[in-house]
């Protein structure tokens, strides 16, 4: 349209705008201010740490790969992994108890989840670590008789490390049971009916139909629960299990470098969580692309005996 001046028009004059006109970038002052504030705070914190004469960074470097620290790291990983294995099995048992038609099993599973979710983990660790105070020895006998089949001192039977794994696993199983329950609950009832109608047994139905479909739903929350578990292992230092934190503190008790050794432990926890997160992302991607892969998978008939 050509610009024309309409004399006496109520709208006023129409300006000439070239067709190639572009919208100007708006200067976003708020962004710049926010970024500047964050930057200043960061520089302050880094400077405070770096130039602080109470912290010797070389000490952190010295102890990062100290054999004692590495041994603690190994213990922490062992605690987390063995607790996770137990917790998966226990969580599955609990969720199937909870979904069962037996009211006693259902009630037990419900009570279990309620108990282990309501007592703080550190209390559970202390309780299990000090079990000997409550039951000095563990014995297995035939009920209602005096025949003792097996008896042993509690502290010998359940060393601190075992108590730690048990406490972590028992606690975590309550959370995992809930995660598994929502995953299994997300599989439509029609899937179970179709599997039954095809003559699959209950166990075959779970293994081939229900769990594979529940898996992608379960992975993200179960993984973040594992990362929580990994960090919770630090709590076992209260029953003197030689984990990463305990070892770091043992060293700092000797050389009084408290902050430096806490930094060492912190660094290793960050590395562990970063690695775990990467593994989780890989698992998630894998289950997301699984459908596509299956669609193009070459024929593979399992030979039955």
């Amino acid at each position: 349209m050509t610009a024309t001046r309409t004399a006496g028009g109520t709208e006023g004059a129409e300006e000439v705008i070239p067709p190639s006109v572009q919208t100007a970038e708006k200067v976003r002052w708020g962004r710049w201010i926010a970024a500047a504030v964050v930057l200043v705070v960061l520089v302050q914190v880094v400077l405070a740490a770096a130039v602080n004469e109470n912290i010797e960074w070389s000490v952190v470097g010295d102890y990062l790969f100290d054999p004692q620290v590495l041994h603690g790291l190994q213990t922490t990983l062992l605690l987390a992994v063995s607790a996770e294995v137990i917790t998966i099995v226990l969580g599955l048992l609990l969720v199937y108890a909870r979904l069962s038609s037996n009211p006693l099993l259902r009630g037990f599973a419900g009570a279990y989840v309620w108990f282990f979710r309501s007592v703080p983990l550190i209390v559970q660790i202390l309780l299990l670590g000090n079990l000997a105070l409550f039951a000095p020895d563990v014995s297995v006998s035939i009920p209602f008789t005096s025949v003792v089949l097996f008896s042993q001192d509690t502290n010998d039977l359940i060393p601190a490390a075992t108590a730690a794994v048990l406490a972590l696993a028992l606690h975590d199983a309550a959370y995992n049971a809930e995660i598994f329950r929502s995953g299994i609950g997300s599989v439509p009832e029609g899937q179970r009916r179709a599997a039954s109608a095809l003559g699959l047994t209950w166990w075959q139905t779970q293994r081939k139909v229900v769990l594979p479909q529940a898996f992608p739903v379960i992975i993200p929350p179960a993984a973040s629960q594992f990362i929580t578990l990994l960090k919770s292992t630090a709590l076992v230092s209260v029953i003197a299990v030689p984990d990463l934190l305990t070892e770091a503190q043992t060293i700092s008790n000797r050389n009084a470098r408290v902050m430096e050794l806490l930094f060492v432990a912190t660094a290793w926890f960050m590395v562990m969580v970063a690695v775990a997160s990467l593994a989780v992302r890989w698992l998630e991607r894998r289950s997301a692309t699984r459908n596509r892969r299956l669609a193009t998978k070459p024929v593979e008939v399992v030979v039955q005996p």
């Binding site: 899937q191 095809l198 299956l294 399992v302 039955q304």
Partner: protein, 260 residues
């Protein structure tokens, strides 16, 4: 031997009595269509035929043996779940919602049950699968995932999946009710061919055209009882009960709808 026989089947869900004494026998190579308004107990009746629903009273006899039960000392006793699973392999079921396993390819959907049941060698299963995919007209979908198929294709695959176990009886629970109208005929065509091949079939359906063209008998169920049991033409043209007439009136009918 009568392949499928319902004897005095009763079933209640809570206070609601869904089936109130159903007697029905399906002869070998016979196709029986079950018609009736929704909520009349048709699907529940079908589900008792493979033990997905347990009758409160009465029993279902499948190929001579009672479904999910064993008769001894004048009473019925529950059989172990693994025995019920074995019984179910003789009867195929097709659902309204297809219920294909979404995490498995078409091929794995077909092979899962026979593999679990160890029914046949790998080569035998593979050729059975190829034959069935041809029979339902979808040989090219062998490696497809269910989500990539249309409703009609999914239902045809579901029929092939049920046939993989080489059942003696096929149950269809409103197999075309969830389909877009233009996809109904391809499924009915497969079912017709199956009937022509001599399969014993019990079909819950709203497709009056299919009932007229394919069924040997039509059962009209309402209020949990069989109200009419007649050849399709007789029921569709001259229903004997008031409720049968009302049902056909509502369906808008006259069975004018022809299936291909």
């Amino acid at each position: 031997m009568t392949p499928l026989e319902f004897v005095n089947v009763h079933k209640s869900f809570g206070a609601h009595e869904v089936l109130r004494g159903v007697d029905l026998a399906v002869a070998e190579r016979e196709v029986v269509c079950v018609l009736g308004p929704s909520g009349s107990g048709k699907s529940t009746l079908l589900n008792t035929a493979n033990g997905l629903v347990d009758p409160d009273q009465g029993y279902v006899r499948l190929l001579g043996s009672v479904v999910g039960r064993r008769y001894a000392r004048g009473r019925l006793h529950r059989i172990p779940p693994s025995d019920l699973a074995r019984q179910r392999r003789d009867v195929g079921m097709v659902f309204q919602q297809f219920n294909l396993f979404p995490h498995l390819s078409v091929e794995d959907n077909l092979l899962l049950a026979p593999r679990m049941a160890k029914s046949g060698s790998a080569t035998a299963l593979r050729s059975r699968m190829e034959a069935l995919l041809d029979q339902v007209g979808l040989p090219e979908k062998r490696h497809a995932m269910p989500a990539t198929l249309s409703g009609g294709q999914q239902q045809r695959i579901a029929i092939a999946r049920a046939l993989m176990m080489q059942p003696k009886v096929m149950l269809f629970d409103e197999p075309t009710s969830a389909l877009d109208p233009e996809l109904v005929s391809e499924v009915l065509r497969v079912m017709k061919q199956l009937a022509a091949d001599g399969m014993t079939m019990l079909v819950v359906t709203h497709e009056l055209g299919f009932a007229r063209d394919v069924a040997d008998r039509v059962i009209f169920v309402d209020g949990g009882v069989v109200l009419e049991d007649a050849p399709p033409d007789r029921f569709l043209q001259a229903p004997q009960t008031e409720r049968g007439r009302a049902f056909l009136g509502h369906t808008g009918v006259s069975a004018s709808r022809t299936s291909p």
